[in-house]
Symmetry: C2
Subunit: 417 residues, 2 copies
Amino acid sequence: MSTLSDRFEADYLIETPVSPEIAAAAMAGEQSSGTFVSVPGDTPELQERSAARIEYLEVIGTTETPALPGRHSGETYYRAKVTLSWPLANIGPDLLNLMATVSGNLFELAQFSGLRILDIRLPDAFGAAYPGPKFGIAGTRRLSGVETGPLIGTIVKPSVGFDAQQTADLVRTLADAGIDFIKDDELQADGPNCPFDERVHKVMRVINEVADRTGKKVMYAFNLTGEIDDMRRRHDLVKELGGTCVMASLNSVGLAGIIALARHTELPLHAHRNGWGYLSRHPMLGWEYTAWSKFWRIAGVDHMHVNGLRNKFSESDESVVRSAKSVTEPLFPSKSCAIMPVFSSGQSAVQAGETYAQLGHADCIYAAGGGIMAHPEGPAAGVLALREAWNAAIQGTTVQEYAKTHPALAAALRKFN
Amino acid sequence: MSTLSDRFEADYLIETPVSPEIAAAAMAGEQSSGTFVSVPGDTPELQERSAARIEYLEVIGTTETPALPGRHSGETYYRAKVTLSWPLANIGPDLLNLMATVSGNLFELAQFSGLRILDIRLPDAFGAAYPGPKFGIAGTRRLSGVETGPLIGTIVKPSVGFDAQQTADLVRTLADAGIDFIKDDELQADGPNCPFDERVHKVMRVINEVADRTGKKVMYAFNLTGEIDDMRRRHDLVKELGGTCVMASLNSVGLAGIIALARHTELPLHAHRNGWGYLSRHPMLGWEYTAWSKFWRIAGVDHMHVNGLRNKFSESDESVVRSAKSVTEPLFPSKSCAIMPVFSSGQSAVQAGETYAQLGHADCIYAAGGGIMAHPEGPAAGVLALREAWNAAIQGTTVQEYAKTHPALAAALRKFN
């Protein structure tokens, strides 16, 4: 947690064929008041007021092969960790211009054959300037009625292609199966095959009917990704019809759009990270999730996707765990901005125990597709098996032992192991 | 130019250790109605209505070393070009959800050790759904009074640190030097050291005074990057005080914010691409500029940064030229969305001739910092030398020949060569 007041900081992993000290100075200069040629008005006072500082520099290794192509080459490339700080007065507590300052042109600088932003630390003023998560963990539990353990969730599949009635029919099956959380796929938005408004009307009728009968209202994250005014209008419709969650694609909408939406929401905002691969897939380029997710947490999202253990994508389990743990670490003394991580991608009862062990808590959404729908005894047994797998983990029992007295779990382990 | 009507397309460069046909099918499935496990309601009719199609697949080479780390490995990695198409009815003409569809999760798929999006082609409906550039090339020439040749421009330096009065003083020097275009650095926004409103008031007083005296109004791109309502308010202030351009950082604001701004603007929108490095720097990951810039052109920006020849960054000249040429290629039969490319980064009179030769026209903003301020005879000679270098190129004369009768150019060549 940050205790900064008048400066903000960012940590980087760099690779460079020039001296790391010179390279770090180039970073600081490019992203603040440094100039390559002497210009009028550039005084020691101006530098004192505005320059970025190198707070930390540690060479962690060398390599003979550059990670990325570029203009400069050398015989040895140094890898180092660098921390820079900037005066808050350069931008004020402004997330948009923070983005241009801590990231901006850095990744293109010719001195670097690798540059990745690892983390950021901000003064409390940033927490005060933005909505932050309005619901977070406690609010999501209250609205979903899930007091302990993970929210067991799923994603409508096929991703796109169902009309509104087909979507509602699937929601009925899942609601009857006792599921806690359902989301639209990020490919499903407001196309003519499945218009947003019609989908919300048909799905909420089912969810409200089931809630009236059972007392349990499924949390459905409707994908309202779109222009600002459309997102606000769609949010209002979901709220009006009794819905309890909306979803947006962060890399489609962007930061100004998410802030505008977050200032408006009266429902939890479920954040989808599709596109994350182009920001992160090369280990010496782009963003670590810890740094990137802080922008959205401060802006005001309540749930963020973090992939899952043994997922169908390319991310390592270690990276998934690091991401998931990072989003509940408190950001400011006055406001933690802790949110719920969302696990998904090839998840079933099989990974539940390890996920709990690695995460250290059960404040999460645990979403499975085939892991529920493909359970041999049907979706209700699929949902039950996931709950049982988490219960076993939380009680400190092995899943094999627990399965002896819990047949839905036993069947899931036979199917998915 | 696209002649599609009911489908949209995207081109990719992929690298994969599995069969390219299987890999391309995985892309199409992941980004449309494909499913890994059979689910109820997935019918041939649904697939016909919603599935992405492989339109083109060409293996272009193999490698033994994967470009990116991942879960799958092999002895041989195939590189291929792939074109996919989707039914427009999946999303309608919606840029935000287009982003999630053509990019989205693709970059993370375990089958790929490299994936880069090269281009997109869209039906005319997208052109009709968004503002597009309201000023573009012709409108920028009209407002700047530069009828032919490039707009000669510069960027306020130091990037950040001047207060409003110091900025205005520099603007006076540059306006007196006859410059066409000035922009805020992307690090300068609305911090307490140099508040936006005060900067606009002080700078526009200078620009208006010079315009009253000389008849030439310098186009100044004020960086209004911020929240949506703030950007609209700042735009209105610039317009009210007689300003002729506003600027925003695309990767800070994001697509929904830029669309909201573009629906509001009555001035050219100057688009800064800072952050572009993390989207593009690895040749087998992320975005080609041709694809990425189309989102912003359709949304409604009027100028886009493309770096410069022999720049201080890591990008090759060939890539710079490809980017710059792409932004004037017409996008739709009803609307070209052609915009002005902005050259900058280490530019001087030295690169002007080659830039013109490679670009094939002079409809651009050509920005130099040191190339103007560090001219041995002062900034007025710096601006003049840049104009002379471009005039020589446009007239088909060598810059050396032209310099014989143009002393400002001669001095620039001695200084910067």
